[in-house]
């Protein structure tokens, strides 16, 4: 049976991601495939965005590897609820490793937006904030309003990690916004910006 979408309620995902990145400073950003990649691009293209278009379930772990390699930089992972659900074990791995500079924001519309808007477990009562908390994240928060979000931004950018936030957004589709998708181009651009052009030799 097709899932009937309720009247879209909740936060505008584009406004949420724009707010998450408005004061990104020198942070490194990893985006989960699908809408979070598009949302991040729509908030402003940046050389230090590692846009993932695949590897579903891996965004948080890409963030961990980056955070370990660059312990002085804040690493922000912006991903979807379906993507995070596919890598739930990584919440345990990250909590145990406890990188202070890693923060994960899940843009949670409770659905699989790329594949026909099927409901995800998050839209059926599964509480991933609770899972991250139980795994041992230093901070784990569910964000339901722009006021909550504004309050959480300091935690996302500055509180010792690992930080986790599940941001409940509307399931309404956002306008098309597609960033660079050639993987080698994305990695060249990112590494040159982070490590200098010598990294391309």
């Amino acid at each position: 049976m097709a899932t009937k979408l309720k009247t879209p309620a909740g936060l505008d995902r584009r406004k949420v991601v724009a707010a998450l990145l408005a004061d990104r400073g020198d942070a490194l950003v990893v985006t989960g495939l699908g809408s979070p990649t598009y949302d991040t691009y729509a908030a402003g293209d940046h050389d230090l965005n590692f846009y993932l278009w695949g590897g579903m379930g891996g965004a948080a772990m890409v963030g961990l590897g980056l955070a370990l390699a660059q312990p002085k930089r804040r690493v922000l992972v912006i991903t979807g609820d379906g993507e995070m659900l596919m890598g739930l074990g990584s919440l345990a791995t990250i909590a145990v490793d406890a990188p202070k500079n890693l923060a994960i924001a899940v843009i949670d519309n409770g659905h699989y937006g790329e594949t026909g808007m099927q409901r995800a477990h998050t839209g059926r009562g599964v509480d991933i904030t609770g899972m991250a908390q139980a795994a041992g994240f230093k901070s784990s928060t569910t964000v339901r309003s722009m006021a909550d979000l504004n309050e959480w931004l300091t935690t996302f950018h500055r509180k010792p990690g690992p930080v986790f936030g599940d941001i409940k957004v509307s399931a309404a589709p956002a306008p098309m916004a597609l960033p660079l998708r050639d993987g080698t181009a994305i990695r060249h651009r990112f590494r040159a910006a982070l490590l200098g052009t010598d990294a391309l030799k």
Binding site: L52, G58, M61, G65, A69, G89, T184, R191
Partner: protein, 178 residues
């Protein structure tokens, strides 16, 4: 007194560790495996290395993409049964031309006791090859050091995913009587 064969059987984890040191490997992601136990311990005791215990091998694949994007070199230690878990995550390495070093201890191919290890052991090399990973195999203890060294160079000098299969014959029989 140890025989030559016993000596060879115990030094290869130390030789791999030395290759890691020499080539600047600083991140070691692993899913525990008896064949890698000594190497994991040595890496955990080494200040220049950071070890990360995984819940599943694909986490390590994704992690090492981030490591290299951030300018660090890492390695994934795992058993052949975990190779199947990695396949889709490996697409990131092919699409982005990222280097990856995987050291895979084999099960299910030589003197195996557990029949459930046989299917994945039999398809490990072809699964990796099919996923775009270059596969090297170390059949004898005395081959391991050079094979790991050459694979590390290949991976990081040419930005390609490379796996070394450490064959079960090297690891020896698992004693099921105790």
């Amino acid at each position: 007194m140890q025989t030559d064969q016993q000596t060879r059987a115990t030094v290869w984890p130390d030789q791999i560790f030395d290759v890691f040191k020499e080539t600047g490997i600083t991140q070691v992601a692993y899913v525990p495996d008896a064949g890698h136990a000594k190497l994991i311990n040595r890496c955990q005791d080494e200040k220049s290395m950071h070890t990360v215990s995984l819940t599943t091998e694909e986490e390590g694949v994704a992690m090492l993409a981030g490591s290299w994007m951030g300018g660090a070199k890492g390695v994934l230690l795992m058993q052949s049964s975990g190779v199947g878990n990695c396949i889709n995550m490996l697409s990131m390495f092919q699409e982005c031309r990222l280097p990856l070093l995987m050291l895979v201890t084999m099960r299910g191919v030589w003197g195996e006791f557990n029949p459930w290890q046989v299917p994945m052991g039999g398809s490990t090399a072809s699964a990796l090859t099919g996923a775009g990973v270059i596969v090297h195999s170390a059949e004898r203890a005395e081959d391991i050091r050079d094979t790991v060294y050459a694979s590390t160079l290949l991976a990081f000098q040419t930005c390609r995913p490379v796996a070394v299969l450490i064959q079960q014959r090297v690891i020896g029989f698992k004693n099921w009587s105790k």
